[in-house]
């Protein structure tokens, strides 16, 4: 990269207005620039502040009413139920020829979606981590120089496909494939092996379940983890690798050494993938089956926090329902905060350590 400083400096006269002249303390270009950039930086803090404030204030009624029980209860029934009143004889009561109804209050417990988010994210990570690490090793240790940019580009393209497009693909291609060719044999096989009940489902497999949701998430976080871990591996000092090779290590032994050396950075990459997986909405909502129940089987329909929001927020008419959904959103946001703190601590911590070592 070259830069012709003389032309840059020559254009000094274009600055014209006295507003920008140096020495005018009140409106100096420096001051304006400083205020503008400082304001923009503050604006970013304000954005998170607004997000937290709005979600918290909307969630407050729900927090007050349910307390911690919100996170541990698995009953989610957003609408009032109308149930006929039964008399002492156990019969439905009639009044003016109409059935007397009673109303049962809605109930909100977020445990099923917390469970769904956790399990689907774990599936996504289990599938995505080995593939991403392999690809990043390929990009740093195997691929010839000319091959790296196009392959990186293709992997980044995978990240650019919109969520809704993944959803359509998963709904019409992946889910039927799982339903017809993957889940039935799993079901047969694991029905008889004790301890592997989570791979078995009693009903007929539908393909739209926790497993499918997890796989779509895996595809969607692949490019993020790959790109991050590629950068982390690239930062490994050459001496580390060359030293290992000089000592007679095989390719894999030196590669493993690299992975081990940069494990905290890789963990940070995984955490970012996890943050993305837990917040992914549209694609998951299309294939996870949307069932607010905790089932041990991976082939049972489930629900995640974000798919719950996509499913219900637009239609939440009751104050309690809306507030409960806001609390789910708040929990989701705090979780994403936590993942980022962990990821950041690991990456920053590592950088600080390696800086100290030099």
């Amino acid at each position: 990269m070259s830069l012709d400083l003389s032309t840059s400096m020559a254009s000094e006269t274009d600055f014209g207005p006295s507003l920008m002249r140096r020495g005018n303390r009140l409106f100096s270009a420096d001051r304006v620039m400083r205020i503008l950039t400082f304001g923009s930086a503050l604006c970013i803090l304000l954005m998170l502040g607004a997000l937290l404030f709005v979600l918290f204030s909307s969630a407050l009624p729900s927090i007050r009413e349910f307390g911690m029980g919100f996170l541990t209860s698995s009953e989610w029934r957003p609408n009032e139920l109308y149930i006929p009143v039964k008399g002492s004889d156990g019969k439905v009561q009639l009044e003016d020829g109409e059935v007397v109804m009673q109303t049962i209050r809605p109930a909100f417990g977020a445990l099923p979606v917390i469970y769904g988010t956790a399990v689907s994210s774990i599936i996504a990570l289990v599938v995505a981590i080995p593939i991403s690490f392999a690809a990043s090793l390929f990009l740093t240790r195997i691929a010839p120089r000319w091959m790296v940019p196009p392959v990186s580009f293709l992997i980044e393209l995978l990240a650019a496909i919109p969520s809704i497009a993944y959803g359509i693909w998963a709904l019409f291609v992946l889910a039927p494939l799982l339903q017809n060719h993957v889940e039935p044999p799993f079901n047969k096989l694991f029905a008889v092996i004790p301890g592997l009940g989570f791979l078995h489902f009693d009903g007929s497999p539908s393909g739209r379940d926790m497993f499918c949701g997890g796989l779509v998430l895996a595809v969607m976080i692949l490019p993020i983890i790959t790109a991050m871990s590629r950068d982390v591996l690239r930062a490994v000092p050459r001496a580390q690798v060359e030293g290992a090779v000089a000592l007679g290590a095989t390719w894999w032994q030196s590669a493993a050494e690299m992975l081990k050396f940069s494990r905290s950075g890789l963990f940070g990459a995984v955490m970012l993938g996890l943050a993305r997986a837990s917040g992914e909405t549209m694609a998951v909502a299309m294939v996870i089956g949307n069932n607010m129940q905790i089932k041990s089987s991976l082939f049972a329909p489930a629900q995640t926090m974000s798919s719950l929001l996509a499913n219900e927020f637009a239609e939440a008419t009751g104050e309690a329902h809306r507030s409960a959904l806001a609390e789910v959103a708040l929990v989701l946001l705090l979780m994403s905060l936590l993942f980022n703190v962990v990821a950041r601590y690991l990456v920053v911590g590592k950088n600080a350590r390696s800086a100290a070592a030099h």
Partner: protein, 355 residues
């Protein structure tokens, strides 16, 4: 120099923009029920041809979304398959009017590729399937209704709506008339907690799950079943007859509605489980919901345009309804709708007789 040129062009733009603003046009925004959406889209485009200054938009965000929209006044009118309940009406803060626009049927679509002939079901059996009490297609109770049909020995996957919806409201309200046991355990509402089966978001979600899942059964609006060529069950009605959902059989169910429509404020009536040889049992009206006092629209021209459109929709528009597989309103119900429209006011004065 550059700056002045920029200022000039900005000023020019502002003038051009100002000129645009002065064109008189009235915009109305509706949102809500997904079920009548195709019909409403046809209505608003047709209506614009004869009334080019009136631009009406409708977005299908679900009945619950529509009710939320009208309550928070984020839309001018709401579409809903389920009438607003007392609590929702109280939440709206002012008196609400339901205008029925057409009627539709909820059908039980199924995926049994090897089944030959029609499947017949009854309300109590459907209730047991959704409670998880009947789990196989060749259950004796189903077989008893379907003599001579070879029912497969596979499991039943009931499919339901995950979102709050008018479809679920109608379906569950029908089921509580069919089974006390069901009514006591699951109940009725826009969204209930199902003990078994699988969810799909929206009619399309349920349709897709039913299409993709062998052995499944799902409740969807009839036009989704027809458009996707999914078979649906004949249902036993109150008179004991097995009836297929169509615009005729839904209209037959709608005939009983007139007796229930006592006052213009009470046009939200139930037409499920009606007697009559030809009445399809899971039928329901769909409504456009507005406030009785229209000054929430802020401009009288908007209020006038809305009333005119609703008048047109409940009369001339009904012809289009039949073309698109919806059951049109009977003459009697149309008259009731007109009465309700006459009751809509601007600052307390009726809008319709005003011209």
């Amino acid at each position: 120099m550059k700056l002045t040129r920029l200022m000039k062009s900005l000023a020019g733009l502002a003038i051009a923009l100002g000129a645009g603003v002065s064109m008189a046009e009235t915009r109305l925004q509706g949102a809500g029920a997904t079920f009548p959406n195709p019909l409403y889209q046809k209505w608003v485009t047709d209506y614009q041809k004869s009334h080019p200054d009136v631009k009406i938009d409708y977005q299908s965000i679900g009945s619950g979304g529509g009710i939320k929209g009208i309550t928070e006044k984020t839309v001018d009118f709401a579409g809903s398959d389920a009438p607003m309940n007392k609590k929702e009406m109280a939440g709206a803060g002012a008196s609400i009017v339901h205008i029925p626009t057409c009627a539709g049927a909820v059908v039980l679509a199924y995926s049994l590729p090897d089944l030959r002939g029609d499947l017949k079901l009854s309300g109590p059996i459907v209730a047991e399937i959704y409670q998880g009490k009947i789990t196989k297609w060749n259950d004796a109770k189903i077989a008893a209704l379907n003599e001579g049909v070879a029912l497969p020995d596979i499991g039943i996957t009931p499919v339901w709506r995950t979102d709050g919806s008018g479809t679920t409201f109608v379906f569950t309200n029908y089921l509580i008339t069919q089974s006390e046991d069901y009514a006591g355990s699951i109940g009725a509402g826009k969204q209930v907690k199902w003990p078994v089966g699988q969810g799909g978001k929206g009619n399309d979600g349920v349709t897709a799950v039913v299409q993709g899942t062998k052995g499944s059964i799902g409740y969807i609006e009839v036009n989704y079943a027809n458009a996707n060529k999914i078979p649906f069950a004949l249902l036993q009605n109150k008179s004991g007859k097995f009836v297929k959902a169509s615009s005729d059989t839904v209209s037959a169910a709608g005939e009983g509605a007139l007796d229930q429509m006592k006052a213009p404020e009470h046009l939200s009536v139930n037409i499920w489980n009606q007697a009559g040889d030809n009445a399809y049992p899971i039928s329901a009206f769909t409504y456009i919901i507005v406030y009785k006092e229209l000054n929430y629209l802020k401009e009288q021209s908007k209020a006038k345009a809305l009333v005119d459109f609703l008048k047109w929709a409940t009369t001339e528009g009904q012809r289009t309804a039949g073309e698109l597989d919806y059951a049109p309103l009977s003459d009697g119900v149309q008259k009731k709708a007109a009465e309700a429209l006459h009751g809509l006011t601007w600052d307390g004065k009726p809008l319709m007789g005003a011209e």
